[in-house]
Symmetry: C2
Subunit: 421 residues, 2 copies
């Protein structure tokens, strides 16, 4: 039983929280931004200090590797991302990188015997906040292994042309060239040289906190669908057009949203989540009745049969007229539930038990690079309790004690994986 260092973890949290510090408790650290390059430099500095070898692949993913006793064995990799959403917090992504570093630092400091080379990794551009889509580089690297309908979104050439949401002009490819972090394709993580992958991440929900557990043993990433629900009305002048003849698309969407909530509530599925987070309103001026309103609906659950029931309700909106408006329901994408490697999950569970940290099984509702990686090599995740369940916002917080426990669990799970050639 080996333990990671609370003091060293605290120091890493304090250090990395400076890179992109927005001045009110959180960070904005877009992928390949100056703040992200600071984080990468700090990663390199700390890993070089413990004797790790640094490699960078052609999409900027960084790998810091320490040797094991058997040079013929594949690497065991731990990693996550250093980029954040706009006005995000100090834990999402970076905790997985800090935990991987902490594991390597502990192994070196305590001279812990291990056979496999161990690698701490930074996945480039997980959030896709500046250059969409999310999980861009795990999508590129795992391309050949992804299900066909997902794969189409991640063509290398298309990704290089992804435009900045800030200027709608400069591309991810240009940012990569400029960053100095465009390395060699030969260094990409692949089944040829990597045995398995661990990703530690904050939970981003309140389940662990509510249950009083510090650590989540993650068993899967939930399946989901993402649709657009669109309403077509007629723009008329706010002052001149009698109410009975109006076809107001915003009011139509509101009626439909209330209907969707009512109908889904009737299903009584306690662990379903669904979100209508993005809206488009046209022409969106106070003197015009909207002729178009569009909202996203994202629903997540482990069981496909549950998602089908929910989707049937969403689709039924298109069969009705809403305040005189026509409704269309269009698929954006969906994905099946991705289960983690059973053996790796059992290592995490055993490690948590042996350490005596409070824990439970949990699903991941959010997508992570690990999810694409799982199509390529055995993969699993470890969750750390999130305070108030908040994430993707500045108050995002996890106690350093829990963060350290997460790293300790990962360390001991990795050592279990190390025992198997």
């Amino acid at each position: 039983m080996y333990k990671c260092s609370l003091e060293r973890m605290k120091d890493k949290i304090a250090t990395f929280s400076q890179f992109g510090d927005a001045g009110h408790g959180g960070i904005t650290r877009y992928s390949l931004s100056p703040a992200a390059l600071q984080a990468r430099n700090e990663f390199e500095r700390r890993m070089t200090a413990i004797g790790a070898t640094i490699e960078v692949d052609d999409v900027g993913c960084m790998y810091a590797t320490i040797n094991g006793s058997d040079p013929s064995l594949k690497r065991i990799v731990m990693g996550s991302h250093v980029d954040s959403v706009k006005n995000g917090g100090n834990y999402d992504g970076i905790l997985g990188v800090m935990s991987a570093m902490e594991v390597l630092e502990t192994v070196v400091e305590q001279n812990i015997p291990h056979k496999h080379p161990l690698t701490a990794m930074i996945w480039t551009n997980e959030e896709g906040s500046l250059y969409p889509p999310a999980m861009m580089c795990s999508g590129i690297i795992c391309y050949d292994y992804l299900p066909e309908d997902i794969r189409g979104k991640f063509k290398f050439e298309d990704m290089m042309k992804s435009k900045s949401i800030l200027d709608n002009k400069s591309t991810f490819g240009e940012a990569l060239e400029k960053s100095g972090y465009k390395g060699d394709k030969k260094y990409r993580i692949s089944p040829d040289n990597y045995k398995c992958m661990f990703e530690t991440h904050i939970e981003q929900g309140p389940i662990l906190e509510d249950a009083g557990n510090d650590i989540g043993v993650v068993d899967c990433v939930l399946g989901m669908f993402n649709y657009r629900v669109r309403f077509y009305g007629q723009t008329v002048h706010a002052g001149t057009f009698p109410m009975p003849k109006r076809r107001d698309a915003f009011y139509a969407a509101s009626l439909a949203l209330c209907y969707i909530h009512e109908e889904i509530d009737k299903l009584g599925i306690s662990d379903l989540v669904y979100t209508t987070g993005e809206v488009v309103c046209h022409p969106c001026v106070h003197t015009c009745v909207p002729d178009f309103f569009d909202f996203s609906i994202d629903a997540r659950h482990e069981k496909p049969e549950v998602l089908e029931k929910v989707l049937a309700i969403v689709k039924s909106c298109a069969e009705k007229e809403w305040n005189g408006c026509r409704c269309e329901v269009e698929k954006a994408w969906n994905r099946d539930t991705v289960y983690w490697d059973k053996e790796l999950v059992s290592y995490v569970k055993e490690a948590a038990e042996e350490i005596g940290v409070s824990h439970q099984y949990i699903h991941s509702g959010a997508g992570h690079d690990a999810q694409f990686c799982a199509y390529m090599i055995p993969t699993t995740m470890i969750f750390v309790q999130s305070k108030d369940g908040l994430s993707h916002c500045e108050p995002e917080f996890s106690y350093p004690e829990h963060c350290t426990s997460g790293a300790t669990v990962m360390l001991n799970a990795v050592l279990k994986a190390d025992k198997v050639d």
Copy 2:
């Protein structure tokens, strides 16, 4: 009884519809844009051709004047605007300018005796589509006469600094300088040199068409209030946060919008209009529950006591909790009903009767430059039937016969006003 020319009106409609032609039936002709300058040049060309004198004031308003028989009398002015909303139609605003030109052309061609100088006028930047606010230059010119709470919005210095909605940088003042249409303040319309004002405009609603009347004798501009209804929730991740703990501001706003419709419907006020046209959603991404949603509500009715009842319903939203979200209701502005000058209205009514054009009394639900002008000098409006009640959109249409009838009614009403010194 004098009549305007259908052929000449058709020619003007065809000509002016080219300036800013968006290629699919309508125009985009922002104030002081190249397309608007083409319209101004054409106005000058046609008015100079009939011997009118052209003047331009310091905010770009243009005045084309023909003399009357008594040089000591004040001018009678007819006018509207040449600017449009984005993807607007070929009638809103420009019809009033074309009608004013048509009246002057008819007076000159038929050598119609009149005592007062007669002026056709272009008000600058009525729509405020590129440089807000709407009715900017009538606001500036009528500043001293406006009610105090309206006036504050139209300070000359502030208006010159109004930024383009396209680049959020270039200002109205800069555009005015560049346009070559910054003239002399001494030419501004004022009670010293102008007796009264007529504005012909499309109805922008379906009331005349539904009643089978070509022309509206407008008696007032409806009073209105404009408020913002805001909902404050909590952003959480779409995949990780259980439904019962969510505080979704978009869902909250939808519930409240349905409540507002239900409660206002119960009042049973058939001639009330209210519109929720502008929305703001934050952070507006499909993977986040919105923590903020805000919609405008614009309600219009002749009677203040009716508007008070409606406002009480809107304000009651702030006393409730909506899906765990707090609600705030904030006033943007309101205005009282502005009644047109009774004598001028009677001239329009008599002219319509004498000509034998089908007509009715009607309120204006929309704001117009005439409404600010009415605080300064006697003012009235004439409406022309709108096909399907559509406006501020490309299908906006009025029959040339109705447009010509509108000009004929204005001509004969102006001649009635001309009889009174």
